[in-house]
Subunit: 409 residues, 2 copies
């Protein structure tokens, strides 16, 4: 008998039928003698509906009031799930963020959890009740409603698991775990039994949207065992356990998986005077316009000039170019070369640290297929390359095979 926190996302509670399915699954865990705290998101589509209402009124809705409006989505789900549990004879109590005092800072729309008051939750659990908590929301010191930002329900679940010292935090989603790569691209893609936190963070930030990255960081910080499971299969199986590398003694594969992201556009500023402060002069105006820059590369220059490259989300491509035309004149750059038909592909694995040759295997494999690499960027546990978008699927398939990701580890 253990204390388990389970989180069900928007598609898992997207209809009243699905909410009933979640209730039956929770009841099965309860029947095994576990104490359960359930965190839920808004029914799928609901948050977007609420944001659309707000946008009808204000192009840039007041952040405090937007939180008041959008936090209702999760509030509806907690009530409905509690009813569904009671309907099948499982006692349950629902709580909004402010009721169990999920205290956050006052950064509306992207608030950070500071503390959770566990007293009432413990009392309910002792009384045999399932406790249901609205994800994504909290309350600041002044009693104003806050939200944690998109995907914040994962973070709510991890924070609750940390505060309650739960045995495990189970994230139920529409996939049954973390895969070596997207099975729609590589049918041989295999579900990983375990993945380390560091790998998971790289996979998540690289476009493998299984978990919200902040929740993974949070879990790492507070040493919460996270497990990703499917809410759409009758038997959820074992999913993928996200482990602390240091804690686990198992032989790790060199490469855990391949992530990719089509939402990239490349901008190459050529013939830039090679002097201090030039990177800031180029990226400063981009950052001021709230455009998120992903890869950044600057090569050693020659003849007093250098080339400076970076990538931005595709939706920001035109806006970035407009900004850069001003910058170009100002810094005296020779020309701007840009391309929004590119994709980023990354191999990720903590095993890389001790195995040299991973990058060279990657480059050789791509070269053998005639795929040109436009940009390269590396970290301790990943190698990312930018390639022409039309070669993406091919590149993922050949690399999946080259690193034997289709073989059981």
């Amino acid at each position: 008998m253990a204390l388990i926190v389970q989180k069900y996302g928007g598609t898992s509670v997207g209809t009243t039928e699905r909410i009933k399915n979640v209730a039956r699954r929770v009841a099965r865990w309860k029947a095994q003698g576990h104490d359960l705290v359930i965190v839920v998101s808004a029914m799928s589509g609901e948050t977007n509906r609420l944001i659309a209402l707000a946008n009808d009124i204000q192009a840039n809705p007041d952040p405090r009031e937007l939180d008041v409006v959008v936090s209702t989505g999760e509030q509806v789900t907690i009530g409905l799930l509690s009813m569904a549990l009671q309907e099948i004879g499982v006692p349950a109590h629902s709580y909004c963020g402010w009721q169990v005092r999920v205290t956050t800072d006052s950064a509306h729309g992207k608030a950070r959890i500071q503390s959770i008051d566990e007293e009432e939750i413990r009392a309910d659990l002792s009384a045999g009740k399932v406790v249901i908590v609205a994800g994504f929301q909290g309350v600041d010191e002044l009693g104003h409603i806050t939200t944690l930002g998109r995907g914040g329900s994962d973070t709510s679940a991890v924070a609750l698991a940390a505060a309650l010292g739960a045995e495990e935090c189970q994230i139920y989603t529409d996939v049954d775990g973390v895969y070596t790569t997207d099975p729609r691209v590589v049918p041989e893609a295999r579900r990983l039994k375990t993945i380390t936190f560091e790998e998971m963070i790289e996979m998540a930030s690289l476009g493998s949207k299984v978990l919200q990255i902040r929740s993974v960081e949070f879990a790492g910080k507070y040493r919460v065992r996270l497990r990703v499971l499917s809410s759409f299969e009758e038997d959820e199986g074992e999913g993928t356990l996200i482990t602390f590398e240091e804690d686990e003694n198992m032989e790790k594969a060199v490469v855990a998986g391949i992530a990719f992201d089509r939402n990239e556009a490349r901008i190459n500023v050529k013939g830039v005077p090679d002097k201090p402060g030039i990177a800031y002069q180029i990226l400063g105006p981009i950052a001021d316009a709230n455009i998120e820059v992903d890869m950044i590369i600057q090569n050693v220059g020659e003849n007093g000039t250098t080339d400076f490259s970076f990538t931005v989300p595709r939706g920001e491509f035109q806006r970035s170019l407009t900004i850069l035309r001003d910058v170009q004149a100002h810094i005296g750059a020779a020309k701007i070369d840009a391309n929004d038909k590119v994709a980023k592909l990354s191999i990720v694995g903590v095993g890389m640290r001790s195995h040299c040759g991973v990058a060279s295997t990657m480059f050789r494999t791509l070269a053998e297929e005639g795929i040109n690499i436009q940009m390269i960027s590396t970290s301790e546990i990943k190698v990312s390359v930018l390639v022409d978008e039309k070669y993406l699927e091919l590149a993922v398939r050949v690399l999946h095979k080259a690193f034997s990701l289709d073989q059981e580890d």
Copy 2:
């Protein structure tokens, strides 16, 4: 410069366009130098949508959880209205029931307000902000969300006006005041400049659904000046002021208005043994089945038997008859005569107290039109009659003329 509480109902905030209209109206009042506290309902249709979701899960939803779900409707509106005010340059802050501590008892779905914490509201008003409060909802001593029942937003507004000592509580609705009768039936129906609380309560309970009756009682108890106004006209005019009879020195008309209700069904239990306890034996099982009885009449009996009549809502007619068939055998009543094609019509006015002849004028007028009266019931300020439904419109029209209700008072 006065403190005014305004309440806008579901149709007044039914779309984002209408919410913007409400914001412009509030801004006009604010520009006149008033302090404003605004109470809003859920957008029309929203409460029903939420109840339907709950009913999808539980035929009889858990009352605590139903309150969690349905209270989100008002929460969405307060956020949107606050945005709409800020969009036109009027500073505003929204509050849920729990945030300004509208403390209620724990009777979920029909909670009663016990206290309101005015501190934060006063601070916002002093800072020049418009304060927006979610109607219909509160929080109990344990911190659970409660709701006040259908139409509870009116009660929220009156309670806030009482707690804050507001100059006036203005109820904005889809009609521009209280009329002498329904203008759809009598085109000559006239808007009343004033109506007394007692008359308003009789009009409200008799099917004139302008205000929720509990809010009127509440206003009477705490001496809150209530005004009914239209939110659909550019210039709201003066609406109808609901006065305390004792406070106003004006000459009152004998009859203030005519109310009617088609939702009536008559049941007549004939040949009942005329002995103590018989009323209870008939109505007890009806009350146990949660059927609300309206008019009740028992005449003096003869030959040891009497007739016992009462009315129930039309939707409960068949269920009532089923129950009564058992009762009939048990008490030995001769027969049951019943009719669900009846309507109740009432003339209301505090002036009746000092003017005899009101009832006889009513009966004579109906007789002249050949309209048979099936049941009669009276109170100090009203006379109600039950007639065949097909004569209802005719009856209302001739009585409206007979009591000169089309003339300015």
